[in-house]
Amino acid sequence: MSDVLSMPARKPLLEVRNLVTEFPLRTGVFRAVNDLSFSIEAGKTLCVVGESGSGKSVTARSILQIVDAPGQIASGSIMLNTADGVSIDLAKLHPRSKAIRAVRGRDIAMIFQEPMSSLSPVHTVGDQITEAIRLHMKMSKDEARAEAINLLRQVEIPNPELAIDRYAFQYSGGMRQRAMIAMALACRPKLLIADEPTTALDVTTQAEILDLIARLQKQSGMAVLFITHDMGVVAQIADDVLVMHHGVAKEYGTVEQIFHSPQDPYTKMLIGSVLKLEQKAEIRLARPPLDQTAPPILEVRNLSQQFGTVKALDNVSISLLPGETLGIVGESGSGKTTMGRAIMRLYDPTAGEMLYRKVDGSVVDLAKIEGEELKKARRELRMVFQDPFGSLNPRMTVAQVIGEPLLVNGIARGKELDDRVSHLMEQVGLDPRGRERYPHAFSGGQRQRIGIARAITLNPRIIVADEATSALDVSVRFQVLDLLMKLQDQLGLAYIFISHDIGVIRYMCDRVGVMYRGKIVEVGEAEKVCNAPDHPYTQALLSAIPRPDPRDRDRSRRFRYIEPAAVKNGSAGR
């Protein structure tokens, strides 16, 4: 089936022409990729960037013919031109043919987003790497094993001789992605396709993985097709950029062109949304300064939370003023989510107190109260969750989801309930006519609005938002952030905004607490912490964030924070 042509001059390594990938549906055909053309030169990096549903992952999978069933390539060509002068049209090969299998892993290798689930949980890492080696190269088991250890060493995994016999779940997130890269590089491919390889990782780990890919690329002259939604990453690594939206290419050019003279309005919007996060929100700049002398609405003092032997929160103290947005930032495992949940009293804290000042000025300790008193307090403290899909019951209509707190607390029913739900939906920018529909009929951003409407139903005074915008696309993220700030001003809410994204924190928070291994290492004005932090950990965190400007690619600036051996300083509050 393969077209074998002789090659006159130097051709790009991979040339995609008019690619169309379709998914047959019951109601017709869905074109995930529509008439897409691009090419990749040997040794270069092409970034495909776009929001969820843009077809960027399907494009990558089309190249290797591993699109999930029932999707298939409908038309177009994918020419792979190898150095020995052979050209193969991958689009013409059958997805199960021997010819395409010979290309997979040998000429073109791929790494994926979820480093945990992309490796088999019941086979050792070494087993999976040697398998890739022995598939395409004639090697004995011992040789392959030696080669695998070598590869693990190349991707900087400590003690590769021992690590090779471990399982993926014994690796950390960053190490798993390194192992994936080692596996992909096993047969020295000419093209590496990386499908959002750093999205699930912390920024510091992301920076290390990006460096690793760049170094290996330089060593072997391999081309990289990098798929991402993060414009910062694009600016740091790309030679060329392809912007995708709804399956079509919006703009295709060099990284310099895309960032400094974008033509397409969609590209401009994407870049604009990243630049927007470089400064504080306009609504916040326009607001009169907060009354710093007001007594805090919530004061957390020396809070500790232990799970078994793990100290998730270690002597944390922080306070929240009325009407203030307090950001909590940190990497995964830093205890920021535990802190949010502890404040909601979803756990019983091991030690410390959480003093909450009620409307009448009296103070209760959220860590101690029980029963009716706790129930009352919980009405005034609400939560917005990260996952807009998992946090809404799929079997309840939107009206039921939003109205449930009113019904459960016996505040409103019947016609009155209906009116209040409609009003709440208008407040969060949703059409109340959709209230009888189920959550699946709404997009991610709309669902997050439903979650916010549910949170403000009982007129709370404090809202804990746990990564409330991390699952949303950039274009939607701002709408939700701006909505949160608008509601804050209208309803006089105080927010505890938990996020791993410094940009979002800078955009909307008044003050920030930085968490590291269960401790708050720095608290201060958002402006200061996000731009000129005092603590070395915060400095390291900031240094790892990819700058959204291709002219600013200084990797030497980046460093990793190493905790001093003797830790004395716990947390700072005010």
Partner: protein, 328 residues
């Protein structure tokens, strides 16, 4: 790991005592005892047993003692001499009766288990990989047929077909001439010619449910990213399926060993009776009906011990094949 096994083994001792006591009490709960049943059976054939003989029998069997004493004597016999008591009905030591039947039960159970797995696992994988294909629908129809037809009905139909159409000797596991004969190659061959019928019947119903379970397990695993990773490596579809998703989809089957072992004894009673198989299940039923308490008690004790051992084995096996359980 060793500590875990040791702990589990220690825990088995009190559980076995508790269950054996409970079993003993339950067997004695119905009014009357073996002698009453015995007299009733004799009366049915117009033989009259006078009170004296009955009392003598009771004394000989120790049925006059309080229940706790009877239980104590029984347990002591087991612990000190491995003596499970005498079956009233068969007038033989219980242990001999049970072991004789257990060997054949084991052969039959393992044969039908292997047959079930050999049929069901590939079909389940096929159904999952070719979801909503004609083949999938055909196997689904077959599975629901297998699930809904009671196995004794299937046994009757197959017996009829085999006997009438093919003139095969059905019922039992041996031809008459081999029934009491010592083991020989000819007897083995005879067993083989008989065993296919019960094995088929027992396999059909369990195959059906197993296909559904395997299909569901595979459908859970197939869309997982590690499958795509393996595909992107260039593995062939067959090697990929058997090495990755199937390996993980099989894990739940290991847990079924826990109830497979006790099923050896008490399972497939109806089929065994219909086909007149010399396995343990009909003997247990008979012992319970005749209030043959030592025989029934020994069976219940055995079932319980097998349940405990089965779950221990399946836990150990699961830890061996799944590193997530072993290492975390």
């Amino acid at each position: 790991m060793l500590k875990f096994i040791g702990k589990r083994l220690l825990w088995m001792i009190p559980s076995l005592f508790a269950v054996s006591f409970l079993a003993f009490v339950l067997i004695q709960l119905p009014p009357g005892d073996y002698v009453t049943t015995y007299i009733a059976t004799l009366a049915a054939s117009n033989e009259v047993v006078d009170q004296n003989t009955a009392a003598q029998l009771r004394e000989r069997f120790g049925l006059d003692d309080p229940m706790l004493v009877q239980y104590g004597k029984w347990m002591w016999g087991i612990l000190s001499r491995g003596d499970f008591g005498i079956s009233f009905e068969w007038q033989q030591p219980v242990s001999g009766l049970i072991w004789e039947r257990m060997a054949l039960t084991l052969v039959l159970a393992i044969a039908s288990l292997l047959a079930t797995w050999a049929i069901a696992l590939p079909i389940g994988v096929y159904s999952a990989v070719k979801k909503y294909s004609i083949g999938d629908y055909a196997f689904t129809a077959f599975s629901f047929f297998g699930l809904s037809v009671p196995s004794f009905l299937l046994a009757l139909v197959l017996m009829y077909v085999a006997a009438v159409e093919f003139g095969a000797d059905v019922g039992g596991l041996f031809s008459q001439e081999y029934e009491t004969a010592p083991w020989s190659i000819a007897k083995m061959v005879d067993l083989m010619t008989h065993i296919w019928l019960p094995v088929t019947i027992l396999a059909v119903s369990s195959t059906a449910s197993l296909i559904r379970v395997m299909r569901a397990n595979m459908l859970d695993e197939l869309p997982k990213p590690y499958v795509t990773t393996a595909r992107a490596k260039g593995l062939s579809e067959f090697r990929l399926l058997t090495k990755y998703p199937m390996r993980i989809a099989l894990n739940p089957f290991i847990s079924t060993i826990a109830w497979l072992l006790p099923n050896l004894i008490s399972g497939s009673v109806v089929v065994a009776i219909v086909l007149n198989l010399p396995t343990a299940a009909p003997l247990l039923l008979q012992a319970l009906m005749a209030q043959d308490m030592y025989l029934a008690g020994a069976f219940v004790l055995l079932i319980c011990a097998l349940t405990l051992i089965g779950s221990l084995i399946s836990d150990i096996l699961l830890a061996m094949v799944d590193p997530r359980i072993r290492l975390e």
